[in-house]
């Protein structure tokens, strides 16, 4: 058994880390190390404590107990800046950029190059930023405003930040959650490049394929406790999952049993919205799951937003239950039985400062009244139901949603819209940030909903997800439906070909 890296002193070592929040023991005696030049993957279910551990590492949280050593010397890191100066950089799960500032300012935030009298040295700033961006092959410049960039490019800015210092350890917390496949390739190149230059990488993800592509070692957390470390080359997906959730998972592709579909619930004809998408037509029946697959920017989210009353179509018609209608607002869409699990949980899905229960019941709070007041009992019943169905991990319904782990926040968004019992359920990247176990449960749930008569639209950039849950798949390319597949005929290759525009013929 060869374990070359084991002979080196770790670049970074955590010992006996304990971190508690009110009502939660987020980390309980955790040991973790990163060696120079390795990719160390950190795995665990939603709420296992991964992000918390990394925030301890990067100086954002102070541990209650335990020690941090960098190259053998114990250190305390009181702030992220201090951690950065010691060579530890965290790239967050939830992006944390100053949207109104330029790319360059964000890259050097807190450490802007200065001239006399504390004036910012813009020339140096832009030149240095330019250089880093070039190294990353970015398609944008240092003077662009961050808020105007796509999520993927914002991610690149975060990464660029890590490259400004002579980093010893770079931590990626679910970096690919909102990246396209092409962008992922770029990211992996960067990671391998960093690795080759002797930087230690911590990589958090719920996607097993990425873990096995990248990682040298894999450590697992469960319920805040350290469960062990595996060498990637010597283990299997199954073993890792076993360690993570305590049982095996059947990840095989669904057998397509015959679907019993009902009436046409939604009929869209020639729908267009400016340059975002054009001439989109489809039918959605009760009991059916329709998948939308395509690259980010192909217009899928915009179609969903149009159906949910957030955008005005410029042409085309929408029919619900055979009647042509216009959908004026989300409130209107909800009244017509449509639910949308939006793409971005932080911006669109949740009121982070509000508690879990109130977030879940928000769309229907007006119907949960007895007299003029909201009925506490009714609300708690709904919360309890979806906490159990979706296994949401929280100390109580009173916890502010912002304090939940990323994956559990996503489950709150899903619960909120399932609780509406919509006729037409649209989910946009529903399992973003959700762990493998819960993911397959959510997929099963979507199938289950369809079987009980819901009409479901699934938008996803994850091919296995679309393949797994859909009865039919529409492939989108540049705002158009470029091909239609049924579950029986679709293959990964034909799907890839369609969405990358290799196959231009339009099949009606």
């Amino acid at each position: 058994m060869s374990d070359v890296a084991a002979t080196k002193i770790p670049a970074l070592q955590l010992k006996g880390i304990v971190k508690t929040f009110p009502g939660v023991r987020a980390l309980d005696d955790v040991t973790f190390d990163v060696r120079a030049g390795e990719v160390h993957a950190l795995l665990g279910e939603n709420g296992a404590g991964k992000s918390t551990l990394m925030k301890v590492l990067a100086g954002m949280y102070q541990p209650d107990e335990g020690t941090i050593e960098i190259e053998g010397t114990p250190v305390t890191m009181r702030t992220p800046l201090e951690a950065k100066r010691r060579g530890v950089v965290l790239i967050h799960q939830e992006l944390s950029l100053a949207e109104e500032m330029t790319v360059a300012e964000n890259i050097y935030l807190g450490e802007l190059p200065r001239r006399s009298l504390g004036r910012v040295d813009w020339k140096t700033l832009f030149a240095k930023s330019e250089e880093i961006l070039k190294r990353l092959n970015c398609g944008f410049g240092p003077k662009d405003r961050v808020g105007a960039l796509s999520i993927a490019n914002q991610q690149m800015v975060e990464i660029a930040r890590a490259l400004t210092v002579d980093a010893k350890v770079v931590i990626f917390d679910e970096p690919t959650a909102s990246l396209t496949d092409a962008e992922k390739v770029v990211l992996f190149e960067i990671i391998n490049d960093l690795k080759a230059r002797g930087v230690g990488i911590v990589y958090i993800s719920h996607r097993m394929d990425e873990i096995f592509t990248l990682a040298d070692r894999i450590s697992v957390l469960r319920d805040g406790g350290y469960r062990g470390t595996l060498v990637a080359g010597d283990t299997t997906e199954d073993e890792v999952i076993q360690l993570m959730i305590g049982r095996s998972l059947d990840l095989s592709r669904r057998q397509h049993a015959e679907v019993k579909t009902g009436e046409v619930a939604l009929k869209v004809e020639g729908l267009s919205c400016g340059k975002l998408f054009q001439d989109v037509s489809f039918e959605l029946r009760e009991g059916e799951v329709l998948g939308f697959y395509g690259l980010v920017g192909a217009g899928r989210t915009e179609i969903a937003e149009t159906l949910f009353g957030l955008r005005r179509p410029t042409a085309g018609t929408i029919e619900i239950d055979g009647k042509e209608t216009a959908i004026h607002s989300p409130a209107d869409a909800i009244a017509k039985g449509i639910s949308l699990v939006p793409e971005s949980r932080k911006e669109q899905g949740l009121v982070l400062g509000m508690n879990c229960r109130d977030n879940i019941t928000l769309p229907q709070v007006g119907d949960l009244t007895s007299g003029p007041f909201v009925s506490d009992g009714a609300e708690i019943a709904i919360f309890d139901q979806y906490r159990d169905t979706l296994k949401i991990k929280t100390p109580s319904w009173r916890q502010a949603v912002g304090n939940l782990s990323g994956g559990n926040q996503q489950k709150i968004v899903i619960g909120k819209w399932l609780a509406m019992h919509p006729r037409i359920l649209i989910v946009d990247e529903p399992t973003r940030g959700i762990d493998v176990g819960s993911k397959s449960e959510i997929h099963d749930l979507i199938r289950e909903l369809a079987r009980s008569g819901y009409a479901v639209i699934v938008i996803s950039s994850e091919m296995p997800e679309v393949l797994h849950v859909s009865d039919r798949i529409l492939a989108m390319y540049h705002g158009r439906v470029i091909r239609r597949f049924t579950a029986e005929e679709v293959t990964e290759d034909s799907l890839v070909a369609a969405i990358s525009g290799i196959e231009q013929e339009q099949v009606a």
Binding site: T79, D234, M354
Partner: protein, 352 residues
Amino acid sequence: MANFHVEKPVASRGQQTARVARDIRGGGMNRDRWKTIASVLARQGILVAFALFLIGFSIFSDRFLSPENILSVMRSSAIIGVMALGVTVVVIGGNLDLSVGSMLSFSTVLVVDLHDKIGPAPAIGVMLVATLALGAVNGLLVGVARLNSLIVTLGMLSAIQGLTLIYSGGKNVDIVNQDQTWFKIFGRGTIADIPTPIVIFAVGAILLHLMMAYTPFGRRIYATGGNATAAVFSGVRRSRVVFLTYLISASGVAIAAIILGSRVMGSQNNVGQGYELQVLAGVILGGTSLLGGAGTIWKTVIGVLILGFIQNGLLLMGFEYYVQWLVTWVVIILAVWLDIAAKRGRLLSPIA
């Protein structure tokens, strides 16, 4: 070779021993207790401060805690209090209302002037409609046109001042027959031996508290202030919600104008000047976040009372009235600081 390369077995003995040892040392427990105290302080800090103030002042002045004095403080706080209730609703909804002071001038001048011309009841009616119309202007500009609330209401502050002067022609107004009109009940009367302003303030506070804490509408206001986009995605009609919060704020001003007009039975064109700051101070002291989405009505009540008691206590201790302005400032800063420090567990933090 199936290399199940677990470098550390699951929940090893060592780990368990360590945990037991920790519990025996009791360090963890002590820390937990401190955390609990800190979190109680974080949530109830304003109450603690309130209690400390009452105790402090009562040591210096034995008149301070007498029932007459307490009633008198509460009565004089009622006008600012009623306005602060409405402004709290606006602020929780994610906006500001700086126009309440000059709106109070306008409404008071209007109701007092009309009192002798068309009688008390019609005067109140007309004033109510006019005040709500001003609130509606705020509501339309901020809620529907989505303009920045600071700018809009600051502009309204000045515009309404102009409006007041145009209406009155710059002259002060008063009510001639001050003893005969039933209008005096609002500012000078009592209900069940309690001064009417206190009763109005209390009833208003209870109603708005019920609305904010227990109705769907209240929930929508919190959601809008907390994350407007997410609220819209949840089917909340944001424009309508914001619009209504400004109507509520204007109603508060109208009621305050009735109390004030009835108490003074006359009005200068600038009676309400500077009230917006006192109102905002009460709201902030109550711990309502200026970012929106957080705060409670009853804490605003306490915030307003703290302001009232401080000002009263200083007067009783023989300070000039303007000292209260400085002290008020110090108290606000301390309140805000302690509040945030308790939340993050230390006084100064590099991260917020």
